[in-house]
């Protein structure tokens, strides 16, 4: 029973990682860049929701929508100001810029909200549910997190495969030039991708802070890195990969904490990344890159 409890916790944490990883993978797939500022957009989402509930007194759902709205705008702004001008620059330049944006966001948050940790009130209005005669207790936050992740995955799948916007995203991620020849605006498509990724980051931020209620300017950094790891070992650029990677990573982390060592759990997670990449360099569901000579 303890194992089941840990497994469910792992899936819940993994759901948060998966939601964050989706942002990394979608942006990589379309703009071929790693948005290292993504983790900090999560943190902004957390703070926005915190402000909405604490300072404005808004109900939970409205706070989440507010956080999503702000992060969507933030994501698009970052793309337009920091990344778009570097579209034809070497990828190292974009990487450095992304790290720069990350530091900028963290320090801006430090200035605005101070380094004192804020206590985040969970957005989940109901308490734990009990199963198997009370032997298994699942917190309300865990349930909401997993359900949110499922909803997001199904919606994203529908958008990417069935809508015109989704087809445009797939086209741009495969061949930018030819996509333009089809009449697709690459700029618009990239902006939409950043918008979706950032909105998801806001959701992840709210869920993360609901589960681990301490909010600081650095709150997004480690989950961001872990989710990036998840996206890579699931196969960077692959949406199912991000989902698989995220869930796996959450499960490995929690099981690692439970059965091996709390201190070593992060090391275990990164060790798993290294092993998987050694065996399958493009990640679990990654595409084999055929280089035609």
């Amino acid at each position: 029973m303890a194992f089941l409890s840990y497994l469910i916790s792992g899936i819940s944490l993994g759901s948060i990682y998966a939601i964050i990883a989706l942002g990394y993978t979608m942006v990589y797939g379309i703009a071929k860049m790693l948005n290292f500022a993504h983790g900090d957009v999560i943190m902004v989402g957390g703070y926005m929701s915190f402000m909405a509930t604490t300072n404005f007194g808004w109900p939970p759902l409205l706070s989440v929508l507010f956080a999503m709205g702000v992060c969507t705008v933030l994501g698009i702004l970052i793309e337009q100001l920091a990344y778009k001008p570097l579209r034809s620059a070497p990828s190292l330049a974009v990487l450095i810029t992304a790290i720069g944006v990350s530091y900028f966001l963290q320090n801006a948050a430090l200035l605005i909200w101070s380094p004192n940790p804020k206590s985040f009130t969970s957005i989940v209005p109901f308490n734990s549910i009990r199963l198997f005669d009370g032997k298994l207790i699942i917190s309300g936050t865990t349930v909401v997190t997993i359900v949110a992740c499922i909803i997001i995955i199904v919606s994203l799948n529908t958008i990417v495969n069935k809508t015109k916007v989704g087809k445009a995203m797939r086209a741009v991620s495969e061949d930018k030039d030819v996509a333009q020849l089809m009449g697709i605006s690459v700029n618009k498509t990239i902006s939409i991708t950043f918008a979706i990724g950032s909105a998801l980051a806001a959701v992840a931020g709210v869920l993360l802070c609901s589960a681990y209620p301490i909010l600081m300017p650095t709150t997004g950094a480690m989950p961001g890195i872990k989710a990036f790891t998840a996206a890579v070992f699931g196969g960077i650029g692959s949406i199912p990969g991000a989902f698989l990677g995220g869930i796996l990573l959450g499960v490995i982390e929690i099981l690692g904490k439970a059965y091996i060592s709390t201190h070593l759990s992060d090391a275990i997670v990164f060790a798993v990344l290294i092993i998987i990449l050694l065996v399958k360099p493009t990640g679990l569901l990654g595409k084999k890159v055929l280089v035609k000579v």
């Binding site: 797939r170 333009q180 020849l181």
Partner: protein, 233 residues
Amino acid sequence: MLEVNGIHVFYGNIHAIKDVSFYVKEGEIVTLIGANGAGKSTILKTVSGLVRPATGTIKFLGDNIVNLSPHIIVRKRLAHCPEGRRLFSQMSVEENLEMGAYTREDTDIKADMEDVFQRFPILKERRNQLAASLSGGEQQMLAMGRAMMAKPLLLMLDEPSMGLAPILVEQIFDMIAELNDAGTTILLVEQNAQMALSIADRGYVLETGSIVTTGNCTDLLNDKRVKKAYLGG
């Protein structure tokens, strides 16, 4: 229909296209022939907007299209079928054709897709298969079908014969002639000078970025220099 005047294109410091001017009248098939590296693909990319010229003008149906983005130019019904097919390999045949119709909002898209299938029955058979699984000839047909889905007034084809067996080349060229008969103006870039000059009305010969000869295809076919350089003497 298309007027290109005095364009110069640079790739970094390389002067790839030197003062090129040409025109395509409505209803014609015009071909641009030349050896590998002469700059033929660059010219098409400049017209479709993928590459920006340093100077020069490009007018399509009277409108200046020189600094427009490619996705805007295609909405003016100027389609570019690029070199090497460049299909969306992870999408099915049908999805590729749908992508061709991306700019269209009208209700005839399904009907036009059926037209493409009628013209290229093998594509209908493979309609749900991934584009990557098609043979070279089938891919070329799909690439042309996809370009046609945009219902272009001018269709630019970049080396449609590349990598295809001779019998397929003949089939593809028959298709091109048919498309032209049905009303599409064609600008054809080809290395296969023989085939290109046999179906086109007029031609331009490109050598290292400059146009060296132009004329009716019947004249070009009999031109001594052209024969020696491109038609095997």
